[in-house]
Symmetry: C2
Subunit: 316 residues, 2 copies
């Protein structure tokens, strides 16, 4: 697949940070930035812009706050065309923490939002756009969105929002190709002035398949993470996207190197990927939090009991 | 997805046997048979019918030969509607080893064949069909088949072959959904009197996605293995197929149990699944044998060097 408009956004450090309280070492983040830069990846999302009034820097690593100085330390001395992105959450960001783009190493601000919070997301995104940033709205938990409410949110985004990209986010790893096709086509039918993006989770080993499906139906922004690193089941593996896309600007080899050198050792220390309780959560279209709790308990391999606990919660 | 005609064939022991010389213990195979029976899985492929003249029982476990007595030991005392299948390879089977179906615990014989060997496969399959078995032809390495030769093979299969099912086999784990769609539609356009099946490998985490794609385009036989067990990157995880299909006869829970009890411990001893050299082989549409050799060497995590070695082999 070659389409010049396709852009890859790597969110290894941002989504991966959800496993380790955003506490990656500076060396690790620099190794990722170097690999992405050499691979020609378009964007690197480096963390969250969360408020230090709400979260303590004693409890969380620096990539939960993404001070400009820390970002500059990552970039220092590395030749790169890869743009830096940060994520801002509705109700968790201090607007004054985001300087005008000209004064910042950041190029893109992404706002993650549930359908119900879309008005807040639009407010935030328009604020960041006015400060000069490229912006996106990432619609989370889309597998649980009611169709009429999603329609309304997309119409609002098209009319009122300055975002460059609207993302479909499969937070639960519950989408199959048919639903992905439906959602991307639906978004494309309403969103005419912005690009569509896909952010897939890998509970059912479908993150890559759903990403391909989205690309087939003209999504031009695709999220991936190196070796699929990310909360719970993780994300669409960046290396597979690079293997699939034929755009000559991309090179898979620097990403293979950083997997060998950094991610294989890391996987010995922290857990992510295809793990049955996450698959069960995906099959049942549930948030992974119950599965994450299970994995920290003595019952971590009691799959049937976990399955029963989720299905028995269903009541009229 | 619900379609009554869909049948699931589990090939855990057969394909998994390629990792451990077919040397699963009787208890392990019985646990798999019990789980599949309780889950309502339609077929269990238990191994190969290879000739003891060509392969020594001293070097290989019993599931390379699948003596009827061993199969009966597996089935003994377990209530089941799951039918037993075995695989026969072109040039590796003694026809007299296969008794008439009435005298055997086996219901189905599958013949795996490259396009070039299709005449031999048809001869074998017709022989087994005449002995009373359900039969399939599994067309291997389909990503490498030339279109005109594949057309001819499919036409021959339709006209000359008594097989009940013709399988598309993605031996290299190289197919994407678009190619899967193309191949299934092509097969359906020629094969009118038999079912179409899909056997996918998981090099690029697309075995399940491609299986769904095949189901969408009316393949009715789908192969899976428990926890994806299988040579190299492994196969389409059976538990994901069971989670996806809505047919009420299937129950995922017995499979979750056997993963907890048998497959998690097994994965500590033998390796399969998403491993970068297998992904590279899939991306480059190569047989996994070079990657399997790499994984047994001291360079097992040298991904860039492995990638370079494969791409540098390309010559005019």
């Amino acid at each position: 697949m070659f389409r010049e408009k396709i852009k890859i956004l790597d969110c290894t450090i941002r989504d991966g940070g959800l496993i380790n309280n955003h506490d990656f070492s500076l060396d690790f983040v620099r190794a990722v930035y170097k690999a992405l830069s050499d691979a020609g990846v378009d964007y690197m999302e480096i963390g969250y812009k969360n408020s230090k009034r709400l979260f303590s820097p004693k409890e969380f690593g620096r990539w939960k706050f993404c001070d400009d100085d820390d970002i500059k330390r990552v970039m220092d001395g590395i030749e790169s065309k890869t743009k830096i992105a940060v994520m801002a959450d509705v109700d968790r960001v201090d607007l004054e923490d985001i300087k005008p783009r000209k004064e910042s190493p950041v190029s893109m601000v992404r706002v993650a939002s549930y359908v119900k919070d879309i008005d807040k997301a639009i407010y935030l995104v328009n604020h960041f756009a006015d400060k000069g940033y490229e912006t996106t709205v990432n619609i989370m938990a889309i597998s649980r969105a009611l169709d009429n409410e999603l329609t309304e949110a997309l119409e609002q985004l098209e009319k009122e929002c300055k975002a460059n990209v609207i993302y479909i986010v499969d937070s639960n790893g519950a989408l199959y190709q048919e639903t992905t096709e439906f959602l991307i086509k639906k978004a494309k039918s309403i969103i005419k002035t912005k690009e569509i993006g896909i952010h897939a989770h890998n509970n059912q080993q479908l993150a890559f398949g759903n990403t391909i499906e989205a690309i087939i139906h003209d999504a031009n922004f695709v999220d991936g993470t190196i070796y699929g690193l990310g909360r719970a089941a993780g994300n669409c593996p960046l290396e597979l996207i690079l293997g699939f896309l034929k755009n000559p600007k991309y090179d898979i080899r620097p990403v293979l190197d950083v997997i060998s050198n950094e991610f294989i050792p890391l996987r010995e220390k922290i857990e992510w990927g295809y793990i049955i309780p996450y698959a069960i959560a995906g099959i049942l279209d549930e948030h992974p939090r119950a599965a994450m709790a299970l994995r920290k308990s003595a019952k971590k391999e009691n799959y049937r009991e976990f399955y029963e606990s989720l299905v028995s919660e269903v009541e009229e």
